[in-house]
């Protein structure tokens, strides 16, 4: 039995929450028409990415009425969407939520906040602290928001916790236009996607946005890579697209029999080595 996934490679409006909610409703409706079981939006899809001082103005708690339309839209299709979370302690985080059957069932807070080069996440947001997996329509899943995925420990921790699917909502700016190569960032992202998927034997769903914010262009190129390392589907670069493809959860089982790297992984050794290095024992 396959699971149909829709990757919403969209261009959110910067700081215009209500407009983005309407955009989500439209794209979710399109995904529903395509009979998708799950639709995944990019990082900060409900707010836009380079928010600067707008971050606190568009932030909301998970129970906020402004998110209710997303919950309603998720009654018959699972939804991953990005927002600025204001916690009970009033700190701000870059968050991606998983809505299922009308409920927000999981929130991941971006842990790794890039604050270098063209990025300034650490100035405006606090880091998440956990990597929790949850039950998605396509199996056990973990969410890695953009920079999270660039840290090898993140997909590793999810795989160690039983995930067969890593969802990676992103806002990746395109840069590097040297002749004879792919767009620099695209080449790096594709390498990561394929490596993680194949060596952790899981589905990797990378959903990148498009459009421009203050002159910076997001390159799209969203893709699904299977546990065998093959690209199941890939969206165009720089253009809006709802990319729909079918996942075969049984492929994970078959690949893990053929290639039992995860079964043989010694998490206890990793833990002991890290613990002694950190002086924890």
């Amino acid at each position: 039995m396959t699971v149909r996934v829709a990757l919403a490679q969209c261009a959110p409006a910067l700081g215009a929450f209500a407009r983005n909610v309407r955009m989500h409703e439209e794209w979710i409706a399109r995904a529903r028409t395509e009979r998708a079981d799950l639709v995944v939006f990019p990082e900060l899809s409900l707010t836009g990415y380079y928010l600067k001082d707008l971050a606190s103005e568009v932030a909301c708690e998970p129970g906020d009425e402004r998110l209710a339309p997303i919950a309603r839209a998720s009654r018959d299709i699972d939804v991953v969407a990005g927002f600025v979370e204001r916690t009970a302690a009033k700190t701000l985080h870059i968050a991606s939520g998983y809505w299922r059957k009308g409920e927000l069932v999981h929130v991941h807070r971006k842990v790794y906040l890039p604050t270098y080069g063209i990025f300034d996440d650490g100035r405006y947001f606090g880091p998440g602290e956990t990597f929790e997996t949850f039950e998605s329509v396509a199996g056990r899943a973990g969410i890695a928001i953009c920079e999270d995925l660039w840290h090898v420990s993140v997909p590793y921790l999810y795989a160690a916790a039983g995930a067969t699917l890593v969802l990676a909502p992103s806002a990746s700016p395109g840069r590097g236009v040297a002749e004879g190569g792919d767009l620099g960032t695209a080449a790096s992202c594709r390498l990561m996607d394929q490596f993680y998927a194949q060596y952790l034997t899981l589905y990797l769903i990378f959903v990148n946005r498009v459009g421009h914010e203050d002159g910076i262009g997001f390159w799209g190129g969203s893709e699904i890579v299977g546990p065998d390392g093959h690209v199941v589907a890939r969206a165009a670069e720089f253009e809006e697209q709802l990319l729909v493809a079918d996942l075969d959860p049984d492929l994970v089982a078959r690949e893990r029999v053929r290639n039992p790297l995860l079964r043989d992984e010694c998490a206890d050794l990793v833990l002991r080595n890290l613990s002694s290095r950190l002086g924890l024992r």
Binding site: A13, L14, G15, R19, Y50, V177, E179, G180, H212, F238
Partner: protein
């Protein structure tokens, strides 16, 4: 990444198809977000404005692009001819708005020393830009044509040719713009002629700067894009004097690349800790 080589210009090569796609998308998106529907630019007959004209036409269509040629009495006939060729190549109507009367009137009234050609040149550059801004009213955006080499060297007039709403070519070196121009079908004569601001007779960029664009671009590429130090470049065989001169130009002219300084006295200050994106959108837009 191999070691920098003073004889190897290949690091400056770009994927023209990809760059073109990115720049057209940039112009389309940013114009739409600002609510404007037209683009305005000065076409000088040189490469940079030719490439910007081509990009603007591809982004919005020739009907939505206004090309202005703004000659002074001393401007060369070659500039007019090449500006026309560029406009014809990309299907643009070129409007000519002379600036001689106002420039001469200003200096005749004792407004400045007419013998100082830099002052006259700056005045001309600002006059041209003020016309472009006027002609952009009420639904157009002024495009910038300063390339990365000019921006980094500070080779331009602040609030003159450097002023604009959007600059699609500011992250491309002169050498890269030549490559892009060829791929756009910019006429060979425009690409081949020596770059000039044409602010006074026989002025050329390279003559005034004292070095060639290809030498400067390679040094800038390694220094800026690849973050190599002066010492590392000298060790790799680049001319030390030239590297130092370029680095100093870059430092000295940095003020041209940033917004004016605002004295901070209050709790929250524009430019310091009042930091909103320029693309600040509203729920009711569009």
């Amino acid at each position: 990444m191999s070691a920098p080589d003073p004889r190897d210009l290949s690091p400056l090569r770009i994927d023209e198809t990809l760059v073109r796609k990115m720049l057209v998308g940039f112009l389309r998106d940013e114009t739409a977000k600002s609510g404007a529907s037209r683009l305005v630019l000065g076409v000088s007959g040189g490469i940079d404005s030719a490439v910007v004209a081509a990009l603007a036409v591809e982004a919005l269509g020739a009907k939505q692009v206004l090309a202005l040629f703004t000659p002074y009495r001393a401007s060369s006939g070659a500039s007019r001819r090449d500006a026309r060729v560029v406009a014809d190549t990309f299907g643009l109507k070129l409007e000519e708005v002379p600036i001689t009367a106002q420039i001469d009137a200003y200096f005749a009234e004792g407004g400045g020393d007419v013998a100082d050609r830099v002052r006259v040149g700056n005045k001309m550059a600002r006059e041209r830009k003020s016309i472009e801004y006027d002609r952009s009213w009420p639904d157009g955006l002024v495009l910038g044509t300063s390339n990365k080499t000019e921006l980094l060297l500070g080779y331009g007039t602040q609030f003159g040719d450097m002023a604009c709403a959007l600059n699609p070519v500011g992250d491309l070196y002169k050498t890269q713009l030549r490559e892009l121009a060829a791929s756009f079908g910019v006429p060979a004569a425009v690409i081949a002629k020596p770059p000039t601001a044409d602010l006074w007779p026989d002025q050329t960029d390279e003559g005034e700067l004292g070095f060639s664009y290809s030498d400067a671009d390679l040094i800038l590429y390694h220094m800026v894009d690849r973050r190599l130090s002066v010492a590392e470049l000298v060790r790799a065989g680049f001319d030390e004097d030239l590297v130092r001169r370029i680095r100093e130009r870059m430092r000295r002219n940095h003020f041209k690349r940033v917004m004016p300084l605002i004295a901070k006295v209050s709790l929250r200050t524009v430019g310091h800790d009042f930091l909103y994106p320029r693309d600040w959108e509203s729920d009711t837009q569009r």
